[in-house]
């Protein structure tokens, strides 16, 4: 292992990691918004919108992010929509992640027994109060493990961004392998940086999941 090389190219990886995380987080934030909207539409069975959401979820879940990105990045300009790689990355992540988040939130909402709603209603609450005080807090805690799993999944998916010439970690690693043949060092840095990004989220997820599964409220 050539430590001099590693020291020299560390800043390059740092920059790439920051870019990966930045686009990842913005994309995930949009994915959460899309997911909440879709879950609400499905939970309240809004006509028409509900069918659109169903179609969107199937398309999003049954196509790879890389193909989605190629279509957006190389295909869209041909019909006059020109986007920077960064914007493409965010859109792709939101498009893919939106359906995964929607499923997480939806299953959280559906896991609450209807009789809980009735119990709130029989205490005189209206629909908004029932949702706000009784359904939502429980649904969120049920969705936590799936939510964290989705965040990890989406952060991992950002690795394909290099295909649309975003200078992320993969791009940097491939570049250095190609230019200097320092394969071991480049791959080592790649793994280390992905671990720095993913390990904390993964550990947090395990802790949260354990809390939700074994303890729930009150411990």
């Amino acid at each position: 292992m050539n430590w001099e090389f590693i020291g020299k190219y560390l800043p390059l990886y740092e920059r790439a990691a920051v870019l990966t995380v930045k686009i990842g987080l913005i994309g995930i934030a949009f994915a959460i918004l899309v997911g909440l909207l879709c879950a609400a539409i499905q939970y309240y069975k809004v006509p028409v919108a509900r069918q659109i959401v169903a179609v969107y979820v199937e398309i999003s879940r049954n196509t790879p992010l890389l193909v989605q990105l190629f279509f957006i990045y190389y295909g869209f300009p041909k019909i006059g929509i020109r986007l920077t790689p960064e914007v493409c990355g965010v859109i792709g992540l939101a498009f893919l992640g939106g359906s995964y988040m929607a499923e997480a939130f939806r299953s959280g909402l559906e896991s609450i027994e209807p009789i809980q709603k009735e119990s709130a209603i029989s205490l005189g609450m209206n629909h908004r109060q029932t949702f706000q005080y009784v359904i939502l807090p429980q649904a969120i805690s049920v969705s936590v493990p799936a939510f964290v799993a989705n965040v990890i999944f989406l952060l991992k998916e950002t690795s394909v961004f290099s295909a649309i010439s975003l200078m992320d970690l993969m791009f940097t690693a491939k570049d250095l392998i190609g230019l200097y043949y320092k394969t071991t060092e480049s791959l080592f840095l790649l793994v280390v940086f992905y671990l720095i990004i993913l390990l904390p989220v993964s550990i947090l997820g395990t802790l949260l999941e354990r809390r939700v599964r074994y303890a729930g409220f009150g411990d």
């Binding site: 398309i59 049954n62 279509f71 950002t158 071991t184 793994v191 992905y194």
Partner: protein, 224 residues
Amino acid sequence: MPDLGIDVLFKGTNMLRLLGGLWVAARISLISIVISMPLGILVGALMTMKNKIVRAICRIYLEIIRIMPQLVLLFIVYFGTTRAMGWNLSGEVASVIVFTLWGTAEMADLVRGALISIPKHQYESAEALGLTKVQTYIYIIIPQTVRRLIPLSINLITRMIKTTSLVLMIGVVEMLKVAQQIIEANRMTSPNAAFGVFLVVFLLYFLVCWPISMLAKYLEKKWR
């Protein structure tokens, strides 16, 4: 109607070449699935064993494989082995190795989850009825586990197929690569081909994965 370049695919053997690219991706997934299913069942079963060392080894394997993006794994196996061990793996072999390692880990996790989801009472009541350990597994535990497992395994297959799109990045000529080649070759005559061709690639992936997802969903509902 602007020219969106779909007609490019009807020139010569372009469509066939594209489908050929899809087959390359499908072949990688199929081989990996066939190898990783039994391995995954084995590892998953090992993970429910009482032996702490066996469990820890499996756990570490699972965590390492599952925390890394599959693309990173592909890079490590494809570029790394060449350097470190002097092997010269083809992209396709490297892909099969990575997807088998990954598929085994995912499958093992599913198997472990399905096994521990069977309540203890089921073992106890089988024992109370006088069944032997082997009989308990054959008649009580495995049938229940399989029902939980099959929809999830089918889902794993779609995940595997979707993930094979990544092999483009280590130089395997699969559908996306073929698409790029077709677009490149027709740059002059059909400048907008990128839209139409990538749209078709998008739809082809959907047409392959969607029915499989539907089957998984159907089975999940039926066996709940």
